[in-house]
Amino acid sequence: MTHYLLSVHGPAERNEFGEYGSKEAMEEAFAATGAFNDKLQADGYWVFAGGLKEATTATVVDGTGEAPVITDGPYLESKEYIGGFWVIDAPDLDVALKLAADGSKACRGKVEVRPFEGMA
């Protein structure tokens, strides 16, 4: 089994309905994502998942020098930022890609699949 991070990427700017065009669209995506989460748990792939606040709420801390340097905003300027993620435990990449496709459909966003080096 391998642990994978399935990260969802979305636009830097969000409107009042998050990344979605309307309230209905947002509610549909939330419901579909909830159903996908339930299925991940029922099928035994679930490790952990979460949605993130907007990238503008991020703060970068650099503690490599003598005193920590704190900077407002995300680490890299980008048009798209990670908006949420799942951590799954799957037998191989084919299974992870299939789950990522289902997750992408549910949350209406592109999903990056990346294996963990290891999990503590």
């Binding site: 994978y4 037998p91 990449l93």
Partner: protein, 408 residues
Amino acid sequence: MADRPSGGDGAAVERVFREEYGRLIASLVRRFGDIDLAEDAAGEALVVALEKWPSDGVPPNPGGWLTTTAANRAIDRIRREGQRDAKHQAALMTYDDTSHSPVGVVEDDRLRLLFTCCHPALAPEARIALTLRLLGGLTVAEIGQAFLVPETTMAQRITRAKKKIAAANVPYRVPSASDLPTRLGGVLTVLFLVFNEGYLASGDGSPVRSELTSEAIRLTRVLQVLLPSEPEVTGLLALMLLTEARHSARVRSGVLVPLDEQDRSGWDRSLIAEGHALVRSCLAINRPGRYQLLAAINAVHTSAVSASDTDWSQVVALYDQLLLVDPSPIVALNRAVAVAELDGPSVALALVDRLPLEGYHPWHAVRADLLRRLGRSTEAKDAYGAAINSTANVAERAYLARKSGELV
């Protein structure tokens, strides 16, 4: 009972090794689940073979001998390195009952490795490089030459792909029936590219690399046995066989001989018969696709007693159908060649001149031929020059130079 390699030199050993390489690697990867370990162990088995075979003779079953020797070396290595992961420990426990006959589980091993090499998570250029390396047994330098990139670039590409297979846990598996339609297209593309690279080698070495064409045919045959009801697999096999059937008539004294000038008595009749039968079985399924249509075009060519007997209207009709499936300028260029036979070179030239293919050497070659037929010698010479400059294949360059030299 063992055959002695001729002259007792290493060349015969290396030839046997290359023939067995894909099968060897595939069975080692299945057993140990580690491509790098499989390659290292295969390399060590080659060293042992080079020591022993020239004096002891080639064993009666060289593939089985290499597999056993390599597997023992792999096990030694795992033991030497002490505790590796559980997968390796498990491999030590399993008894290798692989049969070395040409059918059965070994064939499935190679298919499994083929689908791994052609996994959609790998970049398209990495897929073909990995297939040529692991199943075709080509060296990294040879693959680099074939694709006109430096050896270091090709080595990085292959290393990166192997690393991703290991780190992301890409499975060694022939996909399940429901995944096959999406995965098959990429595999067929790679097999076709491997075949084409053998058929018209892009480097400046040998113009034809028959070890590549035969490896591509062999793998496609295995795929076709596994998937008899996928007409595109059958179509690709038919296309390869009908192309391969003409191979000995295709190069004469180092010069490429075009279809209309080939000695048709030199064509391999049994391959043509098999190819025609496969095309007919595709037609019966009636789900036309790219490879089936290309095979059907080749079936028309190989049915004609002479070039002038070719049913060009049928060839053009098949290209019309192909354009619907694959509306690429390269298909349009090939269609124009058939149109030249049906409607004359000026109609064809008008079609060819519209195509955005300045970087594609066959475009220059086709233009040169049409201009020559129209008596526009100066322009034809320029086009032959452009074609010669844009291909590295020695036999093709020789042919183009000959045609250009005939112009007055």
